[in-house]
Symmetry: D2
Subunit: 438 residues, 4 copies
């Protein structure tokens, strides 16, 4: 899914960086922390560490390493996530039952595979390396996806603990929200999807044409302060604001705020990876489901953007390449979205990458002409294209240089444990003609 | 949602026709048959008969009839389907517990409301009538929707009975499938959605532009014979053909054929409203879910059409108005899709209306610029726009003159009790440019 | 299970009486009423009517009637309740899905089997009749059990209906409770279980010895007035009064009163077969589970009697045979427990038969030496001897002459839809010796 | 519940022994092993270690230690098992979500409470100590109960791991079963329950009289070899052998062997704490539910003993005190029941303590005159007296000197993760009199 050019040393350097970053994220966590699965969507930290290793072992070493043998036969079964063509796999909701291999044993597994991948890259001839590069690069991005999941998952695990443990870092100072502005976008027959030689996942292809009526996007994410207004206005109790499935979920699960918010003596606090703190009004709201995002937009008299609108607007704003530079994402002190701050460098759209994944109004469906690659790698994305919505941008837990313009993230409508937020849209409709009933 | 012109007598005539048709459909059913709810999606026959009456009582009589009083206070609660703004309502999965009012009592309720609606229409002045006409016409289409549901629902109820009861009618003679052909469609910037003065539901609006690459549609529905091939080729056991949610559902519910098929001594039989008969090879397959339709298309190396592609192709084929004439739909002897037969009258697309609702690849989302009407009627369609897929066309259970070009039917991905089938599509993708990786 | 002597005419007369009584009980119910199953424990009226008929067809006609053929092959499958040895059977929780045979068809089935049983009895020679009599008599008692269940079940069905339908009869006048007295019983080595030639179920055998320390029993059932006191004293909120399973059930199901009580504007009303009326203080409380009965006894500083204590006390009170006379049980106007009234005829224990089934402290286990009979009839009682508690006496819904001294009724700890009440016990413990820690 | 006499030094010595034994059992387990809860019945090892500590902190230190303060406020909430009167408590099925305190932190908690209990015992005056001794002794027995549970629970945790980890120890050599003999017991009016000054739990009181007809007990437990015969004879497929609830459970959970047995290439293996090994024919079968035990007895033409029969037979056999000596129970190499071996020392009943807990035919109900003690300690046993069956004896996981003659263990009918086995009984019924129908 990429035609980037890598030579062996740069590939190894990048491999070492990506692998080391995973271990850096796991370092603050005890063996006990790394073992637990607090709900079926969550995976244990040590499972993440092992699974991304299994990915390199299965898709890079197997079939390419001379005399290949798996590090441990049963890891083959234990650390397969969802690849049916690779063989049977361990039941997902039971990942938290596996006490062995322990956190330390997983480290040994990682070290072994690291060494063998380095060795393989160093010894392959140029043609063989070129053939394998796309898979190794996919392995980098795959591991980065799990780095983000590792943080989302451990946030959930620790939030369930009455001792309110802290993962790392420090909270933002309390800030007031900046005013929200609107960016007008012209639309027309636009192109959407990945192009060029750089890396993309298969689901970002093929690039194709879409028709967009003129529309506008909010220049920042919805804030906690605005969400508190929504709540105060009965947002969670008024069925007319909600999709039917949404209000059913609100009632079934007793939602009355974003996921990690708790009311204590009339004050709303938020569980974060830095501990539990009063909700900070100027920061973007996070951990809301699609249903909540959609209800909020209805309440605000607006709507969510489609993914085409989002992508085209970011291009039009000149931020197509902004994410690659990484920015504050490399700062390990921040595991929380930041304030919008002033727009700069001539851009008008703020918080596009690196604060919260932004729910769109688009179902996660294949682009016209999409075909998954042959073999097990074809299971990477395509088979999940139902009952999910697309999110765009990136979030404060996304690894440096991982977020990209055409990246299609996706979660079910009711998911809240990912770091997901809201950007409003408006317009985009055909101009009504006289006599038409709206 | 319509600007049709009706005078009082034509409105009353149509009202009487629609109301009588419901009773005609219920006539073969005993009081016991009319009482049962065989699963949460199904409603009892007498509930359908009462609910469509409640619709006229609530939205037409209340607020317009002088000295309005409900026929029975508690019916207000019992026969509200899902209108939150009208007040609390009886729990949907418990509709089968309500033995009283009985089937006969529901007939009395219907007669009372019929009489009052006729009286109201006869006595309103022209301006008042004009204002109310759109709601009365919506009531016609609402009742027709429930006529179709009544048949789908009683089919499910009777299919659960070991005595294999027959509703009515007679089966088609065994036929062999016609060959499947393909209709090429040019695409471009097309318009989709209802236009003009005739009736539409709110979800068919506003008419808007979409970009379509050139594509082609099968000229008939997938047949039972083709489905048997899919089954024989391991269709229900091969995860690589399925969406992840789809294969999970197949396994959880033990699907190995369409809903009403049962294997008996190696022969596949089908429960129909005419009784249980060997599967007829030349008829369209029915009662398959979106998941099955999508897996079948993957197996066939094809795909499902989007709803825009479907609508535009039917327009291009000159069948935009065909449904209104009714055709064989008026024949009460047939409650089952028929064979494709030869294309005629210069049309190339066969079985467009009146055999099986056709699954599309489009999520049921609002059209750009969609706004539901104010008030309870606004709950009619909009709040269901999540986790469902659009179906187009109509089916053998659709009431005469109810199917229309721009009609958007919708069901969840796993639904099978509706009379749903498959039409294949192909093409529609951007032409790959040199160097692009598909 | 009986050595009673019957001649053919008396057997036929009794058969006709029992069969007619079932139809009398079903007469006030519409076909719709007779079709519905409001929860898995409940069976539809027409199922009861058919199942007791199936019992005679299966266990009396089959194997004895010359040229036997079932009335309808599939009824064999549909109306088997739980006899594994008779063959596969229709799923119990789905009994409410079976619309056909309808109520009228079940009547035809009943008539046919009635005629054939009469014919068989009339034509058998004396030896053959003697051999068959025990099974026919079991059929009487079986049908009477279902007569009681029919009433309990339809009470539940009608109670779920917002229209609050009435089955039949009229409520008691409001009465105040009589004072509760205590009857002292000596105990010692007593005998428990059925003896003699009359009918009993297999679970009442063999008669055997038990040791009882001296104890006492309340001379009447706990009243609604006493239950209101329990509720007012926080009875349903105080875990220290409850078994652990009991309080868990209270919380899971939101119990705060007996099953059919509803609070309306601060007044407690009760759904009865006569309609919905204010709770009558002097009547015995009914429709409470074992958990509630046990918690009430704890709250009152008392306990429930064992079944041995109950049976021995009734014998000691001279009421061993009282039930057979029937008394007010024959009065079809009363489907509700009555007030205790004065003790009479030299008896001291009131409301022993015919008001509420009385929860005991005894698990429903086999008597020492119990063996179920061979064949399908052996499944009648024995296989249910786990997770249930014994109830003694009878209730206002029990058929005339059906209640008996040694009768062991049984329900799970949490059941409330049967007409179950509470009689308190005290004493029965070993006299503490000095130095023992109680 | 005891009037034993302890002086301060002997109390402290015993305290140290009991506390050290827990840590010895946990020593082979990694922090990850100690964290996981593999099903709701199971508790994590570190939870057991903390909860028994909380018991001493709550019931011994609080109210007695001058200037008492809990070690950590929230441990109060986290490590309360089920004492409603002590306050709210952490949800039981979520015990496996609590990663902190970790295994090491729990050690610190244990050390702190150990020190404080020793200090308290050393400084109390004689009267105060005497008053507290019964609670401290209860704490010993409570911790021993959790020692056994810790082993049962970790066995389940490790058995779910595809790596098949070993806890400790080594398996028995393969042995063939000894022949089973029968011990005749006379019965009559016997006494049952604890007596004398030694320790007992409250549920073993009061000692009381029961009537027993003459009966006999098997002189050893049912073996694996016999269980294989039962399986080979269709034991798990024949409903006529089972209670109705039992066969329903078999079908719902797919039982076809004892819990830890797995079939591999036609050979039955067993997961044990020593690893996975072929089923050893001469050892007692373990990890069978009451339902299975009862079905086996029916298949064998026998029955299970009542708890009174069990206790009286052991007394009659002269083994009333045998358990206190401990025997092979102190051997930490054996976590598995052993072969029956020859009867010795004049006893005839083998494997009475220390192999498998023995299911009885007795419901776990209060003895006549049972009253739980006042306060939170009263919640120890009494509130669980429903829906459970009594087990007698002890098992290979029971701590040294913990098993006793009158000990009443209890589990629900379907529990299999405890080390539970089967001893058959026969007789015990009244002698039939002529004319009685059995």
């Amino acid at each position: 899914m990429s035609t980037s050019t890598w030579d062996a040393p740069s590939l190894t350097t990048r491999f070492d960086e990506v692998r080391a970053h995973t271990e850096r994220l796991a370092a603050p966590l005890s063996p006990e922390d790394q073992t637990v699965q607090s709900m079926p969507d969550v995976s244990p930290t040590k499972w993440h560490r092992a699974h991304v290793t299994w990915f390199f072992e299965t898709f890079v070493l197997d079939g390419n390493e001379p005399g290949f043998r798996p590090f441990q036969d049963r890891y083959w079964f234990l650390f397969n996530s969802y690849y049916e063509s690779v063989g049977p796999r361990y039941s997902r909701p039971d990942r938290g039952l596996v006490t062995r291999p322990g956190a330390h044993d997983v480290g040994l597994y990682r070290g072994n595979v690291d060494e063998r991948v380095r060795e393989l890259v160093a010894t392959l001839d140029e043609g063989a390396l070129e053939k394998l590069t796309a898979t190794i690069e996919l392995g980098f991005h795959h591991e980065q996806q799990h780095q983000e999941l590792l943080l989302m998952d451990i946030k959930h695990v620790l939030s369930r603990n009455p001792l309110e443990p802290v993962y790392a870092g420090r909270p933002h100072e309390p800030v007031e929200p900046d005013p929200m502005g609107w960016v007008e976008v012209e639309g027309g027959l636009v192109e959407v999807g990945h192009e060029g030689a750089g890396f993309s996942f298969d689901n970002e292809l093929p690039r194709h044409r879409q028709w967009l009526e003129p529309y506008r996007l909010a220049d920042r994410l919805v804030t906690n302060a605005e969400w508190l207004e929504f709540m105060a206005d009965g947002g969670y109790e008024r069925p007319e604001l909600w999709l039917s499935d949404g209000i059913a979920r609100v009632r079934a699960e007793g939602w009355r705020s974003p996921l990690y918010w708790v009311e204590h003596d009339g004050v709303w606090l938020e569980h974060t990876l830095h501990g539990t703190w009063p909700v900070n009004p100027g920061l973007p709201v996070g951990h809301v489901s699609f249903y909540e995002a959609e209800a909020f937009a209805t309440w605000a008299g607006k709507r969510l953007p489609t993914e085409g609108e989002w992508e085209h607007a970011v291009v039009a704003d000149g931020q197509a390449d902004a994410a690659h530079s990484g920015g504050n994402l490399a700062d390990l002190e921040h595991y929380h979205p930041g304030p919008a701050g002033p727009a700069c460098d001539g851009h008008r759209l703020r918080q596009v990458y690196g604060d919260c994944w932004e729910w769109t109004a688009s179902a996660y469906h294949p682009y016209p002409g999409f075909h998954p690659p042959a073999g097990a790698i074809g299971e990477y994305n395509g088979k999940f294209m139902s009952n999910q919505m697309v999110l765009r941008g990136g979030c404060a837990l996304t690894s440096p240089a991982h977020a990209r313009l055409t990246y299609r993230n996706f979660f079910p409508h009711g998911s809240r444990w990912a770091l997901t937020g809201v950007r409003l849209a408006d317009g985009g409709a055909p101009r009504p003609t006289p006599g038409e009933v709206a």
